[in-house]
Subunit: 368 residues, 4 copies
């Protein structure tokens, strides 16, 4: 008789939109993980969990500290509101657990720094921030191809995150906590820039930001202005050593979610999702040819989230390096915050090669 | 405390290419199913099962009759060689089990008939033949749209099954058991015709075949001729009441698997996979723009197979009708066999409205 | 001072839909041609010509025989009703003129034969039947690529001609003269099969038909039945030496004109217009992504018609072989007529290698 | 007998790459124009003209002033080197001629201003700067659709001009006269932004620039740096009243020319050329699916240039307003120059609502 499979005992914290999905993924779609517990302070979410998780043997907690004490618990997936990401991650690390944390670690750099320091003090535990696109098969195929050198040196990266317009205006109130459109939406695109621009070193050396600039408008939701936010943003990030990334984010894409990326190298370009579609169906009607696109981020990236759960689980069980380094996840926040600042103060922002903001181009240049 | 989830105890018979996949799906990707056992007479497959199934608590059998006696077993998924499909299905039904059988039931009509009769004698058990495309999200979206009437009456259906060329010539020897290209490959396309052409009656009334004709060539594998088979086939099926389906199958598609279908109605057309691709990546290189397509049937339809397992499981657990009727699955074989006959004898073959072959067009017409 | 350019003095016969377009092409878009005259017996067309042709120096005739005597006339483009194609072509040849004749030469084989015989008696004059798709840049690119051998031997050809539905029902009455859907629409697809399947010999050896079969329905226009015609047709043509072409034609495509072709070789496939569009615009709206396709045959093939005029003109001026051989154009009619016969009598039709119809498969086989 | 057609007697100045094309268009593809003369000081171009233009009755000049005195000359198309655009245009206007001038009017604003002033003093003469994309059928379809309001208010415009990499490095030396990549390449994209962002007023009110910023790298041609230029540029232009345009230009696109534009409105998006292709052919080979794209700007926009010639000719003959206003063409230069400045001095540049540069964001803001 073969030895039974060892499974990772994991809990999910937060059972909102993304938390419930993570719970499902660990419960049903990550064979080597066993979802043993879940935490939520929200009664509506507790009711959902009683119906959908408890019958599968998952214990429900309404106190995060109690969750951490769940017997045999090895890891936790933090998927609460953004402001709780860092505190829960830190507590979980200190409780000896491995952590998969939803992005961003925090919208504040100093707090990101605390997470990194805590993780550094517990080097045996795996801590990863979940940038889902890195697990999407099309992005992985692009990265794999970039590594072969077929497109030469990645030099320009264009990436966008465009959400379907939500007429409920939910995202307006959400803007006061989200860190703004560049931190909330474009952070994925920023992470892609860091990923592809560090491909030369296989991820060991992150590109260094030289300057950032951002612009935005409130085309449909003027109330965003009160939180220093916009519903359409354009940003450019210039890196030292000749690389540029430029981004677009929008809250008003009518047909659905359209996230796309171009990685432009000295010998070729990789294009991910230039031609969006939700499947392989096209309708030829008297009004022309029609196709649908994904309606939301999850519809586009569902399989990437599942893959993320699997790879995190494998990294823990096999004591391997997690696929995304925390330093890079913090750098993404730093760039997102700088873009949001540039949007708000209408200035181009400069950095020296050590990552410190400098006031003028002259100062930055002196460092060259 | 909530009531624990009830899971369907299922076994898989056959652990070859497709059997191993079915085992994985029931083991890891069908939350409400529990893979409790597996059967294979093949020592190589047994070794695989010891490594990949046994550690998850799956009992391995090398005797099919023993498998059927596995305690608590409720259902079996038959995924052995084609010639064993029907005998195992019949045995399993008679042992009181629900059965999901890989397509085709058999390459012989009389044997299909036996399966149907056996199933009819056990009306409380679910028996379904697995036509995977009916569970593919793009085909489901097309069917759903056809039901709304947006394309009017489905009138013409074009469908193709094109495999990547396998230079090993594996499929040549396989041809002696497969029933031929129309029974082995185009049976999926035939099933789609039956599905869409019975949409008007929500599947209750199958369209009646009036005539069939088939053509073929052995472009790359002349040895296929010894089994009355070809590597490229073209067939047309004419139905009474003004509907036509035409098919193409090929064993020599260089880039990979390209299965596509058009459902042409009086008001519009639905096209599934006219523009094949394996993901959302395109490469812009000095040689032009490139994309890849799926390399095999499973790469194209993996999610459909998983969905098939889930829906079969749900149908059993909730005592619902299975999504595909056995009558239709047998009719697909009948049409496939007739096409293969037409290929071999180079004649157009006619049927009367009762489904009997008639020798001449005159005879068929007299029945109108 | 350079020698002035010599221009071909040409006339257009017939100023209906296509005739007026040909007149425009020779007048304005064929630099080396000079449209000197035009003929039409129709008063409405005469009025159009007075406004659109006469101011450019084009003489208008209402008597075809007078047209032929126009001083200095060298060539005529015959674009009248189908029944006049052959008589006018013959007269023009006998009057010493070069002739570009719209397809088909005739819907009757015996009459096609007369044209060929007349042309053979005047070997110095150029006579060409205008199969426009051979001048379309995408088809030319496909043919050029086929000639390189990159797809191996062209083995299967699929081609369709689908017109936008015309609710006026114009095409119903037109059916009594058109020769039927296979002669009127699919003749283009048949011509493509002859073109690609003779690529091996650079057009010198046409493939030999072994059998044909056709099917059809009257989905929207039952009145077509009185002319032995249908609004949707499916046909298969089997050639000796292992090549098959299969066709679809429709009068009811809602979004517009969708003509497409696949040339499937032993090493690859060339696909022309699998992904139809009228330009490069897509609209992303709340109802999904939309694009338009050409509304009619001319919108799709306008540039091909212009190129046809240019190449015919060049062939005459430079005394070169015309790009399309008359034998091939007559063969296309023969196949189209056989398909239409098969549609009407519901039989598969066989030919021996000399192109004679034989009654049974046995007879055809005996010739092998 | 109808009155003969009146044709516009036009000359082309400059017979380099674009000049020769313009000459061809007016000679052979603009029915109502008559190319009567051409000027070039270059002996190689003179030889070309003797062979290709003179036989059609075109008189060749090697002195521009002599050209202007050609009897009966009504208009001139200026297609010389950029530095000669403005002087020749001014001379031609003063000689009483209508002028179609290649873009840009000049790379210097003061000189553009002289052209506008000269044109203003001769209000009866038509003067237009040829921004070819405005005549491309896909862009025209997009603009037409934008006018209907279907995408709401155009708010964000993304546009790129990417040339196929020319390993000869021709464009390096050319950079010293071109005004830089933003003036030479992105000027088309800037013009599109002005066009679409003034659609609300049907072109009467141009959007007002608030700030611009640009970035660039020399990925393949470091020598460009000596002319303050780059081979990849990213620029953003912010307009007062809530509109943003962002641009990308590249000299290193391997497969060919890829110019594309997205016009993003509050209710939808129009995308032009997201899915580039040179025609309707795709090749399905063992290496995947392949397609080609246009190899250069002319291959992409040939028909637009022809349409430009036709519309200019019609505007003159019918004394209508030319389709592109000179003010807008000068504004495009102003923005291009500002972007190039921003690239060179690494600063974000601000404008007040009167179009004057202001030093700081504060100053610009004070004007709000």
């Amino acid at each position: 008789m073969s030895k039974p499979v060892r499974k990772l005992k994991i809990a999910v914290s937060g059972l909102g939109r993304m938390g419930a999905r993570h719970a499902n993924h660990f419960l049903h779609r990550t064979p080597k993980a066993e979802l043993v517990a879940a935490f939520t302070p929200d009664q509506k979410e507790v009711a959902w969990a009683r119906e959908h998780l408890e019958p599968w043997g998952v214990k429900i907690y309404t106190d995060f500290d109690e969750l951490l004490k769940h017997e045999g618990l090895e890891a936790v997936c933090v998927a609460t509101v953004t402001t709780a990401h860092a505190p829960q991650t830190i507590k979980a690390i200190e409780a000896g657990l491995h952590v998969l944390c939803e992005k961003p670690l925090s919208t504040e750099l100093a707090i990101c720094q605390q997470v990194l320091e805590t993780a550094a003090r517990h080097p045996k535990q795996k801590v990863m921030c979940g940038f889902s696109r890195r697990f999407d098969s099309s992005y992985v195929a692009a990265y794999t191809q970039a590594l072969t050198g077929s497109i030469g040196r990645p030099t320009i990266l264009r990436s966008q995150t465009c959400d379907k317009y939500d007429p409920s205006g939910f995202f307006v109130e959400y803007a006061q906590f989200s860190g703004g459109i560049f931190v909330d939406c474009n952070i994925h695109d920023i992470d892609l820039a860091l990923w592809f621009f560090s491909a030369e070193s296989k991820g060991k050396v992150l590109p260094k930001v030289k300057s950032v600039v951002a612009f935005g408008v409130t085309a449909l939701e003027p109330d965003l202005a009160k939180y220093g936010d916009v519903d359409n943003g354009v940003g450019v990030v210039e890196f030292y050593d000749g690389q540029i990334a430029y981004f677009y984010s929008s809250r008003m894409n009518p047909p659905g979610q359209h996230d796309m990326t171009e990685i432009i190298g000295t010998k070729g370009k990789l294009s991910v999702n230039a031609n969006p579609t939700v499947g392989l169906l096209e309708s030829h009607l008297s009004t022309g040819i029609h196709r649908d696109i994904p309606q939301n981020y999850y519809e586009r990236f569902e399989h990437a989230f599942v893959e993320e759960a699997r790879q995190f689980t494998d990294a823990v069980l096999e004591d391997k390096q997690v696929p995304i380094d925390l330093t890079s996840s913090m750098e993404a926040v730093r760039i997102g915050v700088a873009l949001q600042d540039s949007l708000r103060n209408e200035k181009k922002i400069f950095f020296d090669r050590d990552g410190k903001r400098v006031d003028e181009v002259g100062q930055a240049r002196a460092k060259l």
